[in-house]
């Protein structure tokens, strides 16, 4: 499930393209596509028992191909890599609202989600509806990805979903520390990317990725040193 966040981010591309072509707010198109794909992946997994990775991999390559075909060339780079200079107040307000929803939803399902990952059987025997938790997880990922797309684009937003958590995992011994550090590293990577972008006059997305990677490498070193 770890790579679901990265692969799912590419699924937003056709949604962005449709938003641009039909002249409505592209963010809505991106989220609608992400949400629809999340539901489709969840349903396909239920009936085929194929792994999430297989289904998401299929969906993302299809979405990428469709997105590249239909998005106007002039907007392609922005869709793929984001453009912080195009972020307006509406985007910021929506990001705050979506973030709040994501945080609340995560808090509600966190224990059941972790239990389902540890052991589906243990979760099911404890009356956890694993299928419903998987669907909520996919919706959460869709929410989080759609928040970051405007700034870092569909190619790089997956990094922000996966890498801060991976960095936190290197130096965490319990879930409280893990969730606090994951969030902190995500904020630190994105903030560093934005600040560096304004001082170096370079795109924020790749700089956020480089910042996040630096954090990840530091935690790898800390883990290695602690052995």
């Amino acid at each position: 499930m770890a790579l679901v966040g990265d692969a799912l981010s590419h699924v937003a591309l056709p949604g962005l393209a449709i938003g641009i072509l039909l002249n409505f707010y592209p963010f809505i198109g991106a989220f609608a596509f992400l949400f629809g794909s999340a539901v489709a992946i969840w349903y396909l997994r239920k009936i085929t028992r194929l792994s999430f990775e297989t289904l998401v991999g299929t969906m993302f390559t299809l979405a990428l191909a469709i997105g590249i075909l239909i998005i106007p060339e002039v907007d392609l780079l922005e869709a793929l890599f984001g453009d912080i200079t195009k972020v307006v107040l509406v985007d910021a307000v929506l990001a705050v609202i979506f973030s709040a929803v994501a945080i609340i939803l995560t808090k509600i399902i966190y224990n059941r989600l972790v239990l389902s990952i540890i052991s589906e059987e243990l979760a099911t025997s404890s009356r956890v509806n694993v299928s419903r938790i998987n669907l909520l997880y996919l919706i959460l990922v869709s929410l989080v990805v759609s928040i970051g797309i405007k700034i870092v684009g569909t190619m790089l937003v997956g990094f922000l979903v996966v890498t801060p958590a991976a960095a936190a995992k290197n130096i965490s011994y319990n879930k409280f520390r893990y969730s606090v550090l994951s969030g902190s590293f995500g904020v630190a990577s994105a903030s560093a990317g934005v600040l560096l972008s304004s001082s170096l006059n370079l795109p924020a997305g790749p700089l956020a990725v480089l910042s996040g990677m630096t954090i990840f490498l530091i935690t790898v070193t800390m883990r290695w040193a602690s052995k």
Binding site: S119, L122, S125, S126, K169, S172, Y173, N174, K175, R177
Partner: protein
């Protein structure tokens, strides 16, 4: 209605998954406070039987538990190696009360293990934590699917001794799946042998009998047992 002194009664139980018969005509009953070992070759339907008893799998026939039954379940496998979660956090998924007591019931010092990540525990320690998980909310029935798989030989005996002590102290009924013949003989009261159907049900001391062993692990013979 389950008879007095019995905790579980299974009648004509059948399970079919994807058009394949996994279990058919399973009949047995189990007295309270006893240990039932479920044995059979790989693919005999042992884990499916457990999942059916937990009502996780559609089935035909009847499964009757006594009133107010509370089941604790320990699955065969659990993936924990890189998940940052402590023993205390794992146990509080189920119940925040009795964490210390549950750990000490399974022979783990609470102060040493509460804050340890699950991923650093040995096979035997992890199994004990899973047992603590199963008992933390005071069940009266425990289902163990191969409780010592992946555990070193030295710890296997200790875990079964601990389970036996738990059973006596808390008056728990235990159902366990095991391939270990001497564990079946020494730590269970009854044995149910499966190979799609019931091939043997009776006193577990009979596992020492070569004829019974051939019956269980050799060519399957479906026998009809009347539940009286």
């Amino acid at each position: 209605m389950v008879e007095k002194d019995y905790i579980l009664q299974v009648s004509k139980l059948g399970v079919k998954l994807q058009d394949q018969v996994i279990l058919e005509d399973i009949n047995f009953k189990l007295k309270k406070g006893k240990t039932l070992a479920i044995v059979g070759p790989n693919g005999a339907g042992k884990t499916v039987l457990f999942r059916t008893l937990l009502n996780l799998v559609p089935h035909t026939g009847e499964i009757e538990w006594t009133d107010q039954v509370k089941i604790g379940y320990v699955p065969q496998t659990m993936y924990v190696s890189d998940i940052p979660i402590s023993v205390k956090e794992f146990l509080t998924f189920k119940s925040s009360a009795n964490v210390k007591e549950a750990l000490e019931s399974v022979g783990l010092e609470a102060k040493d293990f509460m804050n340890k990540p699950l991923g650093v525990l040995s096979g035997g320690q992890l199994q004990r934590v899973l047992i603590a998980w199963a008992i933390i909310d005071n069940p009266n029935v425990l289902l163990f699917d191969e409780p010592t798989m992946g555990v070193d030989l030295g710890s296997v005996e200790a875990i079964y001794k601990m389970l036996d002590d738990l059973r006596k102290r808390r008056e728990i009924t235990i159902l366990l799946i095991s391939h270990d013949v001497h564990i079946i003989r020494d730590y269970s009261d009854y044995m149910l042998a499966l190979n799609r159907c019931v091939t043997f049900f009776g006193n577990s001391k009979k596992i020492g009998d070569l004829k019974v062993q051939r019956m269980i692990f050799g060519e399957p013979v479906c026998l009809a047992y009347n539940v009286e």
